[in-house]
């Protein structure tokens, strides 16, 4: 019977109506290096945050060394010898590195009423020495350290509490070659029988995962698809488990042909945003659904803001061809009958505390004014809101219902309808079916098909490969912020081939 250091039983974490982690059952043997593989949104960070005490589970249990384990906060986890280096956390910029290492525990270094900075420094140096970590400079403020050095410091911070279980979240992507070597040596040493530690590792680098991890667990849509020793995976299988999804239901397009009109609506030339997009060029045709897909951090979600005009230091040309007009900012897109719906509808699209009617009216009021004084008749606004609500089958108790109280699917309908009720020529949709139930998904695809028939051009940015494959005429695959390929529905839409290009 293997010595299991951490076990989760039916572990769930729900955020309101969203199931971030759904019924996770995991057994991690002592001395293992368990890799968590999965796309953004698959639930990896939620699982990691529950193990290290940042979040509390909605239901289910965890066992550490056979005992029930429910840390109330990260410090509690630390006391159980569970430590972490998390991606979204980091260091406190204005403080020096040594203080950062012992933040929250500075009381242990008191000499008299004051904290002994030299005492902390000695302990810091000892920790670096003990684990053979790269000696980063400990002077200055942490905010001025290189990202690499910061990560090493965070690792030292985690190790200073003498952990037996260590969570490493995306730590290696910040490290240079030499530091990676140090990291791998450390991992080997930490999980050796003499030390007896166990590591949970989250990384996007699949090669690294296959090389370093003893076991790999694949997560998708909040659930664990499989957990196996690394030797039992092939790289291809791993990729497919991560990205592929069962295509349940037949709500995408029925046809298999790339089909759209000749006329170009948007011409994008050498679109570049430092750090986000590198030299993206394409044409968008009338009646075309142009899919954009890739790994979540490959840049796909930067395309929308760049086209719309919200990105800083944007270079390149975006031309609305029918009027030969350069799109320099949001106003240009709106005035050329275009629209952009961001991925994050709650933060970027909707006014959650306002009513359905108010939300629908905002993008439309400029089209409803009468006379030189721009008189806005509430009756007209209401009429439009009603039309949108009916056309898009929004399930509500009335236009006055507050959007916050709607389900995800209905919220998305409000979000979409406020734009699609206009006479648009082109639309950019970023993850339009995210967080939406099956019925509304099918509905949205139906709307997209209708728009295509009317000659409206759609850019569909999606991190769901089946969706992108199911709906697009052409698929722009992005990798590492660049265009990796432009695939055609007629000839290239085979799942494995696309995954190949993506990764």
């Amino acid at each position: 019977m293997a010595d299991i250091v951490l076990k989760t039983e039916h572990l769930c974490k729900f955020f309101g109506a969203t199931k971030a982690n759904n019924d996770l059952n995991l057994e991690i043997p002592r001395g293992a290096v368990l890799g968590l593989a999965g796309e953004n949104g698959s639930g990896k960070s939620t699982l990691a945050s529950m193990i290290c005490g940042i979040q509390k589970p909605t239901s289910g249990k965890m066992y550490l060394n056979g005992q029930e384990y429910a840390p109330s906060n990260p410090v509690d986890a630390n006391e159980h010898h569970v430590a972490m280096v998390l991606q979204e956390l980091g260091v406190v910029g204005p403080l020096d590195p040594v203080t950062n290492m012992f933040l929250g525990r500075t009381g242990k270094f008191k000499s008299g009423p004051l904290v002994s900075l030299s005492g902390m420094k000695k302990e810091a140096e000892a920790t670096f020495e003990k684990w053979n970590l790269t000696k980063v400079p400990l002077t200055g403020v942490a905010g001025n350290m290189s990202i690499e050095n910061r990560k090493v410091l965070e690792l030292a911070r985690a190790l200073s509490i003498d952990p037996k279980f260590l969570i490493l979240d995306e730590i290696s992507q910040a490290l240079s070659h030499d530091n990676r070597k140090m990291l791998y040596k450390f991992i080997e040493h930490f999980t050796s029988p003499e030390v007896g530690g166990t590591i949970l590792m989250v990384t996007h680098d699949l090669e690294e995962m296959m090389e370093i991890c003893t076991h790999i667990s694949v997560l998708r849509d909040g659930q664990i698809i499989d957990t196996r020793p690394t030797s039992e995976y092939s790289m291809d299988e791993l990729k497919r488990l991560m990205i592929g999804r069962e295509v349940s239901g037949d709500y995408y397009r029925a046809d298999r042909e790339e089909m759209y009109q000749q006329d170009v609506v948007l011409k994008v030339e050498h679109l570049t945003v430092p750090g986000e997009l590198n030299d993206i060029s394409f044409d968008l045709h009338k009646g075309e659904i142009l899919g954009v897909c890739g790994l979540s951090d490959g840049g796909i979600h930067s395309v929308g803001p760049a086209l719309f005009g919200l990105s800083e230091h944007r270079k390149g040309n975006i031309i609305y061809v029918p009027a030969n007009r350069q799109l320099k900012g949001p106003k240009d897109m709106i005035q050329t009958n275009g629209a952009y719906l961001s991925k994050d509808r709650d933060a970027d699209g909707l006014m959650l505390d306002a009513s359905i009617g108010q939300n629908i009216s905002v993008p439309n009021v400029r089209l409803l004014t009468q006379g030189p004084l721009k008189f806005l008749s509430p009756a007209r606004v209401n009429k439009l809101a009603n039309k949108a609500s009916v056309d898009f089958e929004i399930k509500s108790s009335g236009l006055g219902q507050v959007v916050k109280s709607l389900s995800g699917g209905n919220k998305q309908k409000v979000n979409l309808s406020r734009w699609l009720v206009q006479d648009l020529e082109y639309v950019i949709l970023d993850c339009p079916t995210r967080g939406v139930d099956i019925g509304v998904k099918a509905y949205i695809y139906g709307v997209m098909k209708q728009m295509k028939e009317k000659g409206i051009a759609i850019i569909l940015i999606s991190d769901e490969l089946p969706e992108a494959m199911g709906m697009s005429d052409r698929l722009l695959v992005m990798k590492d912020h660049e265009m990796a390929g432009m695939l055609s529905r007629t000839t290239d839409f085979i799942e494995d081939k696309i995954i190949e290009v993506m990764l």
Binding site: N73, G90, V91, P94, T99, L103, T106, V115, G140
Partner: protein, 328 residues
């Protein structure tokens, strides 16, 4: 370099920039001195005007450093000073408790007042600035009511400290006390857990709570420390002025505006020097600047405050230079 880094927190910041700032400060003061024809830096002017006038804004600024540290912009401090100082004077004079009354009362009163503001902000969830304004109105009103009652009975509305009780407000005692407070503030801010935790919360609330720093507890302790410092400022102020009359309609805001400017200057320099030191330097600078203006004939209460306003505006803009979020 390593030795100084372990001994003193503030040289974890670039030494070169600190020397630059010090030189800049000296140069500006010398320029002002020359423009006044050599009148500004006389021993008499320094000891009678510049340094004593720097005491109140600087000490209040140190108090603000702790109170504003977690984002609670509490402008009732001015009213708290008036209330606390006067109660100290009442106990000293009317109750005959002398120095004991003068010194103990302001601390207690101001701590209670500040905790009231914290209560409104943390537990009643009133936005910090409204809590400050509302409580400021209340503190002022209490003072006004007492004044109005006293003027009916005792004849004079304002209580004045007897000359024998005002030693704390005179040179060199007041400046010595300021230096002592400086050392204490510096040590607390840089070398105690509460100071470190406060800086952490201000620097990155997410990381702070992840490492187990209890934000609410730290906020309350910091508010108490800040209130004690403001209490000291109140004692020093009434000792110097002899009496502080009540204000109404939030006129008390004007009394702490200089301190606010000092705090903001120190905050915008905090990547170069530690804030307590920055506040000290800014306090001396502001006092010198206003002394310079007075010598040049610009009346207090007029263009001096306009310049203060401009300083606050510039600091407000500088503080947000790299800010990418939504600003209201």
């Amino acid at each position: 370099m390593t030795k100084t880094a372990t001994k003193q927190g503030f040289t974890s910041k670039p030494l070169f920039k600190q020397i630059l700032l010090l030189v800049l400060l000296i140069v500006l003061i010398v320029i002002m001195h020359l423009i006044t024809g050599g009148k500004m830096l006389s021993m008499k002017n320094i000891t009678k005007n510049i340094l004593p006038q720097a005491v109140f804004p600087t000490v209040v600024a140190w108090g603000m450093m702790f109170i504003f540290g977690t984002g609670l912009v509490d402008l009732s401090i001015g009213a708290q000073v008036i209330l606390g100082a006067n109660i100290g004077a009442i106990l000293a004079m009317d109750a005959g408790l002398g120095y004991v009354g003068l010194i103990i009362a302001p601390f207690i009163v101001i701590v209670i007042c500040e905790l009231m503001v914290v209560f409104c902000s943390e537990f009643l969830k009133i936005p910090g600035w409204i809590a400050g304004l509302g409580c400021g109105l209340i503190f002022e009103a209490i003072m006004v009511m007492w004044t109005q009652a006293r003027s009916k009975t005792a004849g004079s509305a304002v209580i004045t400290l007897g000359d024998d009780l005002r030693v704390l407000g005179r040179w060199p005692v007041n400046v010595i006390i300021m230096v002592v407070i400086f050392v204490i503030v510096y040590l607390i801010y840089n070398r105690t857990s509460i100071g470190i935790n406060l800086k952490a919360i201000g620097g990155d609330p997410g990381v702070s709570s992840a490492v187990g720093i209890n934000r609410r507890k730290a906020l309350i302790i910091a508010a108490i420390i800040g209130a004690v410092i403001v209490g000291a400022a109140a004692i020093l102020n009434i000792s110097k002025a002899g009496s502080i009359s009540a204000s109404s309609g939030l006129a008390s805001l004007s009394t702490i505006f200089k301190a606010l400017a000092v705090t903001l200057i120190a905050m915008s320099l905090n990547s170069w020097i530690s804030e307590p030191v920055g506040a000290l330097g800014a306090g001396i600078f502001v006092s010198s600047l206003f002394n310079f203006l007075t010598i040049m004939g610009v009346q207090a209460g007029t263009l001096q405050e306009v310049i203060l306003g401009a300083v606050v505006i510039i600091c407000g803009v500088l503080a947000r230079l790299n800010y990418k979020g939504v600003a209201k």
